[in-house]
């Protein structure tokens, strides 16, 4: 009887999910409530988790709780420690959740809410969660090895080196693009700039407190740090209204870019305990709190989505970034659907603390579903804005016109009415000078979140606080990604340079540390400045490049996973990872090809360079402008080369993998298991 009730309950969940999804997907011409999307996503996640993921866990991975995990076998009280399932779940979720699932869906909302929402739900259930889940499993069965180590052992030495190079290049593009998001959110905003600047002395205070005054009291100082950050938001308002102080914090995009570059260099060279670690603690807690707050806010307010299901920009002529739904929607949204970066986390800290093999199911698959739900909330937050406002905030001046009146007229002519006075009033209500041309997604997301939070209580009186709280929240963990990313990039570079000269590889040799930090900062700093100077807003060129890179890293992870599945079961279950792999390859190769060779200057880097060359050849430019155009030509050519390098790197790994798979399946290559041998678990339930 119990079994029948259970089956009926799951059937009800499936039917409800299908009904809600049909409501979301088939509705046209009418605004719908965001609850439809929440219900559709939740039901599909539950069904995917219960049936698809459990099938993979039981039949494919053959998870076995009697088998000791690395956490138990290699227990050392430091990295390897069996930990409670739900604590590992929260830890893993906090590690995979970054700015990506918030910014990507906001940008992709230019197609309407439907394409992004469908990709987030389907991509996560069949792709992203599967990737995280399988890689975590593979790492656990191999003593917690990293993706690079597994690529080297499973595919070959070439695979390992290619994976390392790919990650390094991706890091550079990633850091540039997230820095650009912060710069675009803070330019001309004394309130936001002051708040973010204040987080630095607050973090240093936290570091000193932890090291000298109250050693080990991390939770205590994190709470104090949070109170100080909230106080700095209130102080930011006073600074913005002060005729004396406001000019010091009203910075142009370029000035902010150089400030972030200088900051990145010092943050990566300073002792970790002084700035990076305390702010990382703070940003992790704020991140978890805001995600929870947003979920509660959406459930409480149940906002209506103002954006249509599909906009006219499905034709590829969007103002935020150019290109059609296929392939650009699928590379714009990475982290909420499938992200290569997650494979680095799934083969990093997490496999070392999983106590029992079956915990991989909620930790690997479940955490990604929660991240996907964060992306759904970001789409909802972007969609609660009026479409005219959404496009006014996110469109660059190069597309919509350089004055508020021209921009409002252009956006209204697309069928999304908005006026300059309406935008001025909105800007005033959130304590900003203007909200036009704030490309990058962060300000429109902050507006949507502020709208939801303010509707939960307080109304317009608290709108400006919540807007700046949301900006602070986004910038806080983006800057943490920049600090940590620059440091890791420096380690990777030193690892590579160490092969040329032994001393360059030593992390304790300060000239080597400064030189490699400077090289990494110059790498992403160059792309950041390029993005800031880009008349199309920078996001148009940099975000797709980042999306392609991130998805190609996912392709590498899926190649490793497929190799392991073939070694375990032959061809029987290889479809589980090959399905998302084939999709990702078709998406990324098409996107990369279009970004390099499309004849449209708004899409193709080479076509853009050619168009600029024609402008230059016409000879009707001022002297200063000609130099700027030459730089833009070089930048477009450089972007095309970077895109080409990504393709070459991934093609190398793909060909290497396919040759191995064919050999394994035909029996011409020996299938050697790299799993660690079975050891009986002696872990008692009370220990976890």
């Amino acid at each position: 009887m119990k079994k029948v009730i259970r089956h009926l309950a799951w059937a009800a969940v499936a039917v409800l999910g299908a009904y809600a999804l049909a409501g979301v997907a088939l509705n046209r011409g009418e605004q719908i409530n965001s609850m439809w999307l929440v219900i559709a996503a939740s039901c599909i996640y539950l069904t995917g988790f219960r049936f698809y993921a459990k099938f993979i866990a039981a039949k494919v991975m053959m998870l076995d709780d009697s088998r000791a995990t690395p956490a138990e076998r290699l227990r050392n009280g430091h990295d390897f420690e069996p930990t409670n399932k739900w604590i590992v779940f929260g830890h893993h979720f906090a590690a995979i959740a970054g700015p990506g699932p918030l910014v990507g869906p906001t940008l992709a909302a230019q197609f309407g809410y439907l394409p992004g929402a469908l990709w987030i739900i389907v991509g996560a259930v069949l792709g992203g969660a599967v990737q995280d889940f399988v890689i975590l499993f593979c790492s656990i069965r191999r003593d917690g090895k990293s993706l690079g180590q597994m690529a080297r052992e499973e595919i070959g030495r070439l695979g390992g080196v290619t994976a390392l190079l790919t990650v390094l290049l991706i890091m550079i593009i990633l850091l540039a693009v997230v820095a650009l998001v912060v710069v675009n959110a803070l330019k001309g905003s004394p309130w936001g700039t002051f708040t973010i600047a204040a987080t630095m002395p607050i973090a240093i205070f936290m570091g000193l407190y932890l090291r000298y005054w109250r050693p080990g009291k991390v939770l205590e100082i994190s709470l104090l740090g949070f109170i100080l950050v909230v106080a700095s938001i209130f102080a930011g308002e006073a600074v913005a209204n002060s005729p004396v102080w406001a000019p010091y914090f009203t910075l142009s995009g370029l000035a902010l870019a150089f400030a972030v570059i200088i900051y990145g260099f010092f943050a990566s060279a300073l002792p970790v305990w002084l700035l990076l670690a305390p702010r990382d603690y703070l940003s992790t807690f704020v991140k978890l709190g805001v995600v929870l707050l947003l979920a509660v806010g959406i459930l409480f307010v149940r906002p209506t989505m103002q954006l249509p299901a599909l906009t006219r920009f499905v034709d590829g002529d969007g103002p935020i970034f150019a290109g059609k739904i296929f392939p650009f929607c699928f590379i714009t949204i990475a982290c909420g659907a499938i992200s290569g970066f997650h494979s680095l986390i799934s083969s990093g800290t997490t496999p070392k603390i999983v106590a029992k093999e079956w915990h991989v199911w909620p930790v690997g698959y479940g955490s990604m579903l929660l991240e996907s739900f964060v992306a759904i909330m970001a789409i909802i937050a972007a969609s609660v804005l009026q479409p005219g406002v959404f496009f006014a905030v996110n469109s660059p001046a190069g597309i919509v016109g350089a004055t508020p009146e021209a921009a409002a007229a252009t956006i209204s002519s697309w069928g999304f009415p908005v006026t300059a006075p309406q935008m001025a009033e909105l800007a005033r209500s959130v304590g900003e000078e203007t909200l036009f041309y704030r490309t990058g997604g962060a300000p429109s997301l902050a507006l949507g979140m502020a709208h939801i939070f303010a509707s939960s209580g307080g109304g317009r009186a608290v709108l400006s606080f919540w807007y700046h709280f949301a900006i602070m929240f986004e910038a806080l963990f983006i800057l943490t990604v920049i600090d940590a990313g620059t440091r890791v990039g420096r380690f990777m570079l030193q690892d590579l340079l160490g092969h040329l000269h032994r001393k360059l590889g030593q992390t304790s040799w300060m000239p080597g540390v400064y030189a490699s930090s400077a090289l990494i900062v110059l790498g992403w700093g160059y792309f950041l400045v390029q993005g800031v100077r880009d008349p199309l807003g920078g996001i148009n060129s940099l975000w797709p490049l980042f999306g392609i890179a991130n998805q190609l890293l996912a392709a590498i992870a899926l190649c490793v996973a497929t190799t392991i599945l073939i070694k375990m079961h032959g061809s029987r279950y290889m479809w589980i990872t090959c399905l998302p792999l084939v999709w990702l390859l078709s998406v990324t190769y098409t996107a990369a090809w279009q970004k390099i060779f499309s004849p449209s200057p708004r899409i193709g880097f080479l076509a853009a360079a050619e168009q600029l060359k024609s402008t230059l050849a016409s000879g009707q430019l001022a002297a200063g402008k000609a130099a700027e155009i030459r730089t833009l030509i070089f930048n477009n050519q450089l972007d095309a080369v970077v895109c080409g390098i990504f393709l070459v790197l991934v093609t190398t790994i793909l060909v290497d993998s396919v040759l191995l798979w064919v050999g394994l399946l035909r029996g011409t290559r020996v299938s050697e298991s790299t799993e660690t041998p079975f050891v009986l678990s002696r872990l008692r339930p009370e220990e976890i």
């Binding site: 604590i87 080990g216 970066f341 940590a484």
Partner: protein, 55 residues
């Protein structure tokens, strides 16, 4: 409710490295001291920030 609170506190202590420090003291039979915390913290952070952070 008590179980949920226990998990939440456990998660916060895990994220803040406080539980790792407690394990470190227990496994080495040490008492907390400012010097021991600094030694542990330096070692912990060196390993922690040699790994990428997710985007």
């Amino acid at each position: 409710m008590a179980k949920l609170w226990q998990i939440l506190v456990g998660l916060f202590k895990q994220l803040s490295d406080e539980s790792a420090y407690e394990r470190h003291l227990a496994s080495h039979g040490l008492q907390h001291s400012p010097q021991e915390w600094r030694r542990f913290w330096d070692c912990r952070l060196r390993a922690k920030y040699a790994r990428v952070k997710c985007c």
